[in-house]
């Protein structure tokens, strides 16, 4: 009965846990709860006993935990069961359930990787990482399957687990090492791992929202506006299929019902500013529904509201923006753009349709390669497109005459918050040495304006799975490999110098070959490599001085006018 107390303090959880599988015996009843509890921190998936796990291998780790808690507490509680104890027991169960829910929310992948929630890079990579982990005796064989997908499993720890007789010291050290994998400056952003599975989602979550969450996580639905529209459409279906439970009113209950959906979505990927703004106005619309209106009419008005919101704030706004931004493109322009903004695409297509003749140079970056689709779309439309990655920026900017950028958000101090790399492009355009400045134009709907202020890109940002950096490496780098035949030919033709050079060439080609052969990526087991951190941030902040003009559906503004327009558009 002391378990709940122990469970409530997450204290030394991991280190103790690490020791336990080896000894296997210590009170199995304390374990499960701790286990799920610790999953919130550095995920600690070690199962208490392989047998218990085997028995319930189909259920998730949390479920196992509760099951075994109950099993263990039952014999003790069998005989007396005073009311106080009953209360205590209920409390304990509640705590356990809560812990489990939390654990489930935090853990990513639990069964999801195996259940094939899509060939998502993160899941696959973490699975691969585990497979490569130092093989441990029998325990692994038993626990492998259920553990597989669990995010954050520290493979080295498993390897060390059998040796834990050495003491908790190693475990502590390893814990430290594992936490190092978070880049310190961005430590505050790692809080929540992205969900990888629909398992453990609240039962209120609508299937459409469930699907959308996974799509957003996998970047199937990507881009601020697209996510906003998709969210609103999903919420429309939620509203359509909603029935007010007895004893509450729609205005009151639908808001909480929606917030379940929103919580779920935000565990898949942090919400964008536009999503936040859209949700806020939707909630406002729900709250202002007159309780006297019949449910069907209320739902119809809400659906209408959603439709008109999408039309006004995104669809029509995009057309207006594309039209007025296209006016800024003149014959002979060379437009540089970064990644793949849908509104920039519309602008360029609109200008092309008007018969303007200009070139487009798309700068793209890893790991999302959003510019590829843009490049294809523009090229098929008949535009002149040049595509290069961000490291070619200085070359691409050389003959640029204008820079068009999309936005994730515009902050109240006029700064542009957009896909990481945008600031670099804007800076290259404005600080180009010895040339005329290139105007930087941002196309942005007012729904993306926020009253927040961004001073840097550290305080507010989003961290994506660092494994994306690993797995998205191009599979081979064949180009530029010295041809062995040519090398030998050179050696034979130039016998004096050739010998030395040829040997060099062969060695380099050998080393390249080996690196190609060994694994898909040298970083693939970065989690085990000491002194190595991977950082995959999503956004950066462009200073207002680098932005000449913000084209919105309410007209063109200097970045300093963003807060005014935001105030006006929210007051309306």
């Amino acid at each position: 009965m002391t378990d709940p107390a122990a469970a409530s303090q997450p204290g030394p959880g991991p280190s103790v846990n690490a020791a336990q599988p080896a000894t296997e015996t210590p009170t199995p009843k304390t374990l499960p709860i701790r286990d799920s509890q610790s999953a919130k921190g550095p995920a600690q998936p070690e199962q208490p006993s392989s047998k218990a796990k085997d028995a319930t291998s189909s259920s998730s780790a949390g479920a196992t935990a509760v099951a075994s808690t109950e099993a263990s507490s039952e014999p003790a509680a069998d005989k007396p069961l005073t009311p106080a104890e009953l209360k205590k027991k209920a409390k304990a169960e509640k705590a356990a359930r809560r812990a489990r829910e939390k654990g489930e929310r935090d853990q990513a992948g639990g069964g999801g990787g195996g259940a094939g929630a899509g060939p998502a890079a993160p899941g696959a990579a973490s699975g691969a990482g585990q497979a490569r982990a130092p093989a441990t005796p029998k325990k692994d064989a038993a626990g492998g399957a259920p553990q597989k997908g669990q995010r954050g499993v520290p493979p080295p720890r498993r390897g060390s687990a059998p040796v834990t007789q050495a003491g908790a010291v190693t475990a502590v050290e390893q814990k430290k090492k594992k936490e190092d994998k978070n880049v310190a400056v961005f430590g505050h952003l790692y809080g929540q791992q992205r969900r990888t599975t629909v398992a453990g989602a609240a039962k209120e979550v609508h299937p459409a929202v469930l699907a959308l969450g996974l799509q957003m996580r996998d970047y199937v639905v990507c881009g601020s506006s697209a996510r906003c529209v998709a969210t609103l459409l999903a919420f429309k279906r939620v509203v359509e299929s909603y029935t007010t439970p007895l004893g509450t009113s729609l205005a009151r209950h639908l808001t909480t019902h929606l917030s379940h959906q929103i919580t779920y979505l935000s565990t898949c990927r942090p919400l964008s500013i536009s999503q936040g703004n859209a949700i806020r106005s939707l909630k406002l619309a729900i709250a202002s529904v007159d309780p006297a209106t019949p449910e069907s009419t209320a739902k119809a008005t809400l659906c209408d509201f959603i439709d008109s919101f999408i039309r006004e704030k995104i669809t029509v706004a995009d057309q207006v923006i594309a039209g007025s931004a296209a006016q800024k493109i003149q014959d002979g322009d060379v437009i540089v753009t970064f990644a793949g903004s849908s509104i920039v695409k519309q602008t360029l297509l609109a200008a092309h349709k008007e018969g303007k003749r200009f070139r487009v140079s798309i700068i793209d970056s890893r790991p999302l390669f959003e510019g590829k689709n843009l490049a294809r779309a523009l090229a098929t439309a008949g535009l002149d497109v040049q595509y290069s990655l961000v490291h070619g920026i200085s070359h691409a900017i050389k003959d640029a005459t204008k820079v068009f950028l999309g936005a994730h958000a515009m902050t109240s101090n006029g700064r542009l918050y957009s896909r990481v790399g945008t600031a670099l492009v804007a800076m290259s355009a404005k600080e180009r040495a010895g040339g005329v400045e290139v105007p930087v134009i941002v196309c942005c709907e007012t729904v993306k304006f926020t009253d927040r202020v961004a001073l840097d890109s550290i305080v507010v940002n989003e961290i994506a799975d660092a494994d994306e950096l690993v797995s998205a490496l191009p599979p081979h780098q064949i180009t530029g490999l010295p041809d062995p035949a040519a090398a030998s030919a050179a050696a034979s033709s130039d016998p004096k110098k050739g010998a030395n050079r040829a040997s060099n060439a062969t060695t380099t080609s050998d080393s390249l070959k080996t690196s190609l052969n060994t694994s898909s990526s040298p970083l693939s087991n970065w989690k085990e490599t000491p002194n190595l951190q991977l950082l995959n941030i999503m956004y950066d902040v462009t200073p207002a001085e680098y932005v000449d003009m913000v084209v919105t559906e309410m007209g063109s503004l200097p970045p300093s006018a963003v807060p005014i327009v935001h105030r006006m558009s929210t007051n309306m």
Binding site: K328, E437, P439, D548, G555, S556
Partner: protein, 353 residues
Amino acid sequence: MATSSDAAAADVTKPFDIVATYNELLRSDPDLTMPIAAIEALVLLLTHSASSTISETLDLLEKSTAHLKKAIPNPIGLSAGTDLFQRYLITTLQRPGQLGPAGDFKAIRTHLLSNGRLFIRRAKESRHKIAAFGRGFIRDGSTVLTNGGSRAVASLLQKAADDEGGPSAVRFRVIYVLSSTSQTLGQSSEEPEGMETVRALREKGVPVATIPESAVAYALGKADMVIVGAEGVVENGGIVSRMGTYQIGLLAKAIGKPFYVVAESHKFVRLYPLGQYDLPIEQRVIEFQSEEDIAEENKQQAAKTDANAETPIELPLCDSVDFTPPHLISALITDSGVLTPSAVSEELIKIWF
């Protein structure tokens, strides 16, 4: 409906030539700015026209505005006025009540006309307001560098000179940059723009030095501030004004002297130029020519004088303008207060939304 209103518009515009009225207004009143002349011309147009519905009025207005803009080589200044008037008209018509769409059109029309006149009167008074705001910027012993023939600047400087209590109390000096373009263009009979202001200031006892444009960088070291006028203030807080202002702005920035712009708030234009070459007017300032081209042009000119053929209106070089970006401007002294360049867009948004 559309056809009838079209016909009405055509009937009305024939006897009433808006372009001629506009030019006549500007000529008759030297104190009139371009946007105000445009508004006055539009008000006159409405008084002459016999429109009886709202849409007819708006349609007529739009057509005449387009006509006027096309006929004037540099429509930036006047477009501020026409846009403002149109905006005012629409908001008045949309307002609920007696003067709204449901109201009696006759009443609306008279209201519009009287208010239009009121607007013009107020706009003319705004120069005094500006002078009152801007007077504080000119302190004892300071030297002001200015250029062009801006009436707002002239009235500000004269007000400052008056205020100190007559000729004995004057304690500021003026360096006046005189444009040389008009002379080079062979109009040497006319004195350079701004000479009138120079004389008026000297009369008031203000020591004035006149320098050519080429001496601005040399003279700026002796000046404490730069005050210039503007033809239009654009959305990002930059200004469109007499050719040569941009370079003064650049030099003032480089030397670290404050650069103030004096402009009435009706000169705020809904325009967002990204640079010098993004203005909606055709200027032939930079012209590359070889010997051949010159010969060709001479031949053409001879032909033109014969045929008097229609050519696209171009801005004469002395009337050309440039764009001074907002980061060079320290403050804008307007009749709605002293604004930073970024506040201009706020003012514009207030008018337009």
